[in-house]
Assembly symmetry: C2
Homo-oligomer: 407 residues x 2
């Protein structure tokens, strides 16, 4: 029998995108949908990046170096220097989005059956990359009550087995928005040193920290061989479609191994490397405006959420996500209901059920992730919808569900 | 001990790129190196493609659909229709280069330990993608004497085991330039039907056929669920750096599985999809000039090679590669020597040792692959170098090697 692979069957669908058909159906009914479900910012991509591509003068769109154009890698070292990360251009391998950096890291550091520890809730696609690489994700739970802070060291110790090879830390965090402190990073350093683990640091949202300075895993001392930075320009410059990221490490054997994976796929995208190189020359003030805008959005969103009855949303320290606990029975059902059966003034809101971000089954059932990637006016309109929806849901749906249970 | 993965160690380096440091050293000495080692054409990327990107009007470079922009996929069906492949846009998943299409196919159709049969010599990166996916490549040998025609059906039967899940066919072939006939494709159809295998068809060079019409695996009847087309615009439009390919199949379960891998990495490159969409509207005459140019180059190269003493090069029916047998002892050594120790009028030529294209150790030791991606003048200059080099090598190197053996 002709069959697809077990791996293909086991591959998880995107929990963020699975409600898309319901959103499309809502739009066809004339309902405006506010997309707080996905990290696609409405911030304009810097014109200097687009202009660099428009004005690029070449006749043949050739393969670049498999590690990315040397000129771009050299330029990137200037960017990293500015954020306190000291690396040279040979310690950078340009990837096709942050996604490929994660894939390369998993492939080059872990073998099938090896385990990677990730605080949950976590970026759902780590699951997909783990399945592709045959790697086992071991979640350790962080909790909404303390804003999803790093779980205590004992929880890591309990999860570690002889197959454990790495820890993934996303800082600031997607989906929780939690900003790990320097102290928490030092705790991770002790763990990786004691157990000889890799530390995969996904710092896609480095630029967006509101409650403190970002402390990069690359700034930890004495763990040069352990730390692998998985980076991307997607969020930094609102250039998600560019598909330009980077794997950065000072571990020479790892760089050699990753380079072989990079050579196999020939090169990262050409046009976008031009845009990415131009981005490094944006004025230092560029991030000020973006960050101020996200801060305003965060405050609007979090205040509105916490003002709703029965809703709790910890104030995120970074990124542009928040996880809120809602007075609902089932986040998947609720998010689908918002699109399928609800509207307020011909509008509704699309959220990501938090269940998709937990590795442990059953967690996150009354939580949703909200991406504050829309302007304040839209966020307020979306919150008006959510407030009304929770009221309707409590009176019509939750009640009838409870009634049914008692029949 | 902190160690990279066994997979990372097992990953093969690119045999095409491993001589690059020697080429760079030669250039530093002031020697001009003719690059016949790599399939990077000097043909200009169509201006209409570059202009489409230059003139694209958008403010935010957003993620595209994970399967690629719908407008591009719809446009691509027009292209496929023209070349006799009838598919709809939902049967196309746009990938990051043909490389990702191959990776997706391996991942979604084969599990670790499964086997894939590939006629050798074959495109070396299949090895890399196989290692990444934990898949075992079973080579069956094709021979220079008959121009690398499809091995007889018995050879396939001998190689098939219960773990065999797929056959890869690259048509026209890289590295041999062999153009598989419709009859040969029908033979493959019988094998995949009898043994319920997938047929992965890498048709990157479809446009460049000189001795007959291209017959696509997608044109085979009654094997819709078996055939997976792995395509790319890299060579078709001389746009290798775009990193736009496609996985095309009529197998619905496979499309669903591949879509999950596509969602995990979010989307293919944005700028380049705009260029690729514009390419479909190039006039039908576009390929005439390119094909005529490649034909002239092929004839120049093959005639020059066969005029050299002790050299045999079968006339390739397609693509822009040829494999030649040279009067040498060790192709790897010879190709390195060309860069390290030889020059003729301050020029030399870079070739790819054929050993890297064979799965069976020891084969291809007196063969090299030549990519006729440079203009006729450069090809002639490169052939002048090679002719002189073979003469020098025979008199100085081979002889001394033989002498040493007799000591």
């Amino acid at each position: 029998m002709l069959q697809i692979s077990q791996r293909g069957l086991a591959m998880p669908p995107s929990p963020i995108r699975k409600l898309v058909p319901f959103a499309e159906a809502a739009k066809k009914k004339g309902i405006r949908v506010y997309h707080l479900n996905i990290g696609q910012p409405d911030i304009e991509t810097p014109k200097a990046m687009l202009d660099a591509v428009r004005n690029a003068d070449f006749k043949v769109l050739e393969y670049s170096h498999s590690a990315g154009n040397e000129s771009y890698r050299r330029k990137l070292t200037e960017y990293y220097e500015k954020v306190g990360i000291h690396v040279n251009h040979n310690q950078i391998i340009v990837t096709t989005g942050g996604s490929e950096a994660i894939q390369f890291g998993f492939m080059a550091c872990l073998d099938p059956g090896d385990e990677v520890i990730i605080p949950e809730p976590f970026y759902a696609n780590y699951n997909g990359f783990a399945v592709a690489a045959g790697v086992v994700v071991k979640p350790i739970t962080s909790y909404i009550e303390n804003g999803f802070a790093l779980p205590p060291i004992e929880e890591f110790e309990k999860a570690i087995t002889p197959r454990t090879k790495a820890i993934v830390i996303c800082n600031p965090n997607n989906p929780t928005g939690y900003l790990y402190s320097r102290e928490e990073m030092e705790v991770l350093k002790q763990i990786i040193l004691k157990h000889q683990l890799f530390l995969f640091a996904d710092e896609a949202y480095r630029e967006f920290c509101y409650t403190g300075e970002h402390f990069s895993a690359m700034q930890l001392e004495g763990v040069d061989d352990h730390v692998v930075l998985m980076d991307t320009i997607s969020k930094r410059y609102s250039a998600c479609g560019a598909r330009i990221g980077a794997l950065v490490t000072r571990n020479k054997s790892l760089l050699d191994a990753v380079m072989k994976f990079a050579q196999a796929r020939l090169s990262p995208p050409g046009f976008a490397q031009i845009a990415a190189e131009a981005a490094v020359d944006l004025p230092d003030t560029y991030f000020d405006a973006t960050k101020a805008e996200y801060l305003l959005r965060r405050d609007t969103l979090v205040n509105r959420l916490n003002a709703m009855e029965g809703v709790f949303c910890p104030n995120p320290g970074g990124a542009f996500y928040a996880i809120a606990r809602l007075p609902i029975d089932d986040a998947d059902k609720f998010c689908q209901w918002l699109l399928e059966d609800f509207s307020y003034k011909d509008q509704t809101v699309m959220l990501a059920p938090a269940t998709g971000f937990y590795g442990t089954a059953g967690l996150g059932k009354n939580e949703v992730r909200l991406a504050y990637v829309l302007n304040v006016e839209s966020i307020n309109a979306a919150m008006d919808c959510l407030e009304q929806a929770l009221f309707t849901y409590a009176n019509e749906i939750n009640v009838s569900v409870s009634d049914t249970k008692h029949v």
